[in-house]
């Protein structure tokens, strides 16, 4: 045997073997999915809205996987049902982190559950991106990042935006009635609205609050009608707005101008008596929002999925947009740091801006909040139309007053 030939063959053989092993190993590692854990209120009173977040999450995961995943690995969503109970949410997040050992976390639906998740995330130093947190002052964990751009002082900034819109409308109001639910994430906003309207020199002619879950809106509607305000701020969440409008219809009262804080997506817009109702939004299916990168594609797929799931309203608006944004934020963090290291992701997010459906977001304010990006939309001809600020309107849309 020629010793050099043997050496060459050995080296070649070893090299081939090494390459084969390396690619084999690489392939094996590339196949191992990145697991993202979260809960949603798939059953219970909050399930109506949570189902939207489920659909959005599934869409995003699919889109990412079609692109080849993150860091060359596919994504897998480990989703659990917290039955609309914060104590269950907390336990499930602990399960996700300590037992299922997921790589990353995504936030659950609604303030209560998010607070529970935040506690768990804090204990294990995990990044938590969340999409539906309503009380920025309670967001005290430095690695929690909001996708819903309320800004850190929404109780002041949102009413100011609203009253700016009204002041620039055809009939600026002088008297205001504030009626609100006592739900935590709504109540403080309404309190802020009362402060703001006073500062702006408007007169509050009525203030009423009701228990969350109240079904009886007749007397409330009556008192609003009696007070005869130019403008009604309704601190509504879920069904409240609909029920109040129903009640007002029954006594043949139409407020000259009215605003609903967090109505259930869908039902409000279809009510004939909701004509000219105002609300807040961070995204609507219209330019200029649809110009954001990925927006058009997302809207298309969402329509398909939402119809398949038999949702009565298949349009993309606040909830769906906030959800998609949350995934985009996490995505950006992972891609930028090229890792799944929570600390690195958190540090990067705090120092940088992320391009999302809502525009470029930054997280360097109190509670990691950036700017208040809420805009005012209005029901016009059975559709939501953005009416303020002017630069976000389309086709000359403007605030209408009855």
């Amino acid at each position: 045997m020629d010793p050099h030939a043997m050496t060459r063959r050995t080296v070649l053989g070893a090299g081939l073997a090494a390459m084969a092993t390396a690619s084999g190993l690489g392939r094996g590692q590339a196949k191992q999915p990145i697991r993202i854990g979260s809960t949603l209120a798939l059953t219970g009173p909050l399930s109506a809205t949570a189902q939207i977040h489920r659909i959005v999450g599934e869409i995003y995961i699919e889109q990412v996987n079609r692109r080849g995943g993150w860091l060359g690995r596919p994504l897998e969503w480990v989703l659990r049902d917290d039955q609309s109970k914060p104590d269950l949410a907390r336990t499930l997040y602990e399960q996700l982190v300590t037992a299922d050992k997921v790589d990353l976390l995504m936030g659950p639906y609604a303030t209560g559950a998010i607070l529970s998740a935040m506690g768990v995330a804090q204990r294990y130093n995990k990044v938590l991106v969340h999409h539906t947190f309503g009380i920025p002052s309670l967001a005290k964990y430095e690695m929690a990042f909001p996708a819903w751009s309320l800004g850190s002082e929404p109780a002041t900034t949102v009413p100011n935006t609203l009253f700016d819109a009204l002041a620039n409308g055809p009939k600026p109001p002088k008297t205001v009635a504030v009626v609100t639910s006592k739900f935590p994430s709504v109540q403080f906003m309404s309190a802020g609205a009362r402060e703001v309207l006073k500062k702006r020199g408007l007169t509050e002619v009525l203030f009423l609050d009701w228990e969350f879950g109240n079904r009886e809106f007749g007397p409330i509607a009556n008192r609003v009608k009696d007070a005869n305000p130019d403008f009604v701020w309704v601190g509504a969440i879920g069904l409240d707005g609909n029920l109040l409008l129903d009640a007002m219809k029954k006594i043949e009262y139409v407020p000259p101008q009215h605003f609903y804080l967090y109505p259930a997506p869908g039902p409000l817009v279809s009510l004939p008596e909701a004509r000219n109702a105002l609300s807040v939004t961070i995204f609507e299916e219209q330019p200029p929002f649809t110009g954001a990168p990925g927006a058009a594609e997302f809207i298309r797929i969402y329509h398909e999925r939402a119809s398949a799931a038999k949702l009565p309203d298949i349009s993309v608006e606040v909830q769906a947009a906030a959800s998609y944004t949350a995934w985009q934020i996490l995505d950006a963090g992972v891609q930028a740091t090229k890792s799944l290291d929570d600390k690195a992701i958190g540090t990067w997010l705090r120092a940088n801006r992320v391009e999302t459906l809502q525009g470029k977001l930054h997280f360097d304010g109190p509670g990691n909040y950036g700017d208040d990006l809420m805009k005012i939309k209005q029901v016009q001809n059975g559709k939501w139309v953005v009416v303020w600020p002017k630069e976000f309107t389309y086709g000359g849309a403007a605030l209408q007053a009855g």
Partner: protein, 288 residues
């Protein structure tokens, strides 16, 4: 928070009306529950689930173009059969009232899951021709769906009362409820009475459900929102009575509405339930 606001007469009157209408629905929902509790000795939590199932069916039929009141003709017999069949299936087991609570809770979970599977968790509102109309009398508004509910509640309550007190069937029911072994010894066919009654209670739930669909927005989780106050109405008047749920329901509804008219609405439950407590302490025997 505004303190006491002296309401105008119209506001007060309209609020009282509003309370009466809500109370009528409490009473209508409570009627079937009261009968099955008092006469069948079953605390039927699933009553609410059935009401909502009927409400959703009515909604679905309306989407397909069937008038809600006409849909009663389909829904009521179907639920009568459902209730009777369920009762017949359970009759072979001896079920104490407390056990029936557990059992019907399980049933409620099943029905809720079915509703959510078919109609999703979203809010559904039945838009009917009735919803668009109302009467106006002396400056007060009487919306048609609520009037229908009130009418139905009154007619059914008094009808039930008449059946219980003036017909043989009703008397045998009351006798069996008071002392079952003796009643059986007197030849009362309790088995047949029982499933007839169970079917009737189920049918009453269905009627309540249709009225619900006419006036309220529906969601599966809303099933539980009514349990507390309707139980209160039933217990206040005493189970097994026909007129008591309606009377108690109206008392609760009106007290809540009046509170909302004069002070912060968030205090309403305090007033209505404190009133309840006071009534119970002063006259624990009977109220209505």
């Amino acid at each position: 928070m505004s303190g006491f606001a002296l309401p105008s007469a119209t506001l007060l009157a309209q609020s009282i009306l509003s309370g009466i209408f809500t109370g009528a629905l409490y009473g209508l929902l409570g009627l079937g529950l009261s009968l099955s509790w008092g006469l069948l000795r079953q605390i039927n939590l699933a009553h609410f689930a059935f009401a909502f199932l009927a409400a959703y069916l009515c909604y679905q039929l309306a989407v397909l173009g069937v008038d809600p009141l006409l849909s009663l003709a389909l829904i009521v017999p179907a639920f009568f059969a459902l209730g009777a069949a369920l009762h017949a299936a359970m009759a072979r087991f001896s079920i104490t009232p407390l056990n029936s609570l557990l059992l019907t809770f399980g049933l409620t979970g099943i029905v809720e899951a079915v509703i959510q599977a078919i109609w999703t968790a979203d809010f559904r509102k039945l838009e009917s021709a009735y919803g668009a109309h109302r009467f106006k009398i002396a400056g007060l508004f009487l919306p048609v769906p609520e009037l229908i509910t009130l009418l139905v509640a009154v007619v059914l309550s008094f009808g039930t009362w008449a059946v219980l007190h003036y017909t043989d069937f009703g008397k045998t029911l009351r006798a069996s409820a008071e002392d079952a072994p003796i009643a059986r010894a007197f030849g009362i066919n309790q088995g047949r009475n029982a499933w007839l009654l169970a079917g009737t209670c189920s049918a009453l739930a269905a009627v309540a459900g249709v009225c619900l669909a006419l006036s309220f927005t529906l969601a599966p989780s809303q099933i539980y929102a009514w349990i507390g106050v309707v139980f209160a109405a039933v217990m206040l008047g005493g189970p097994g009575r026909a007129l008591a749920p309606l009377a108690a329901g109206v008392v609760i509804g009106v007290s809540e509405a009046v509170t909302m008219a004069v002070t912060a609405p968030s205090w309403a439950p305090l007033v209505s339930f404190t009133l309840l407590i006071a009534i119970l302490l002063l006259r624990p025997g009977r109220v209505a």
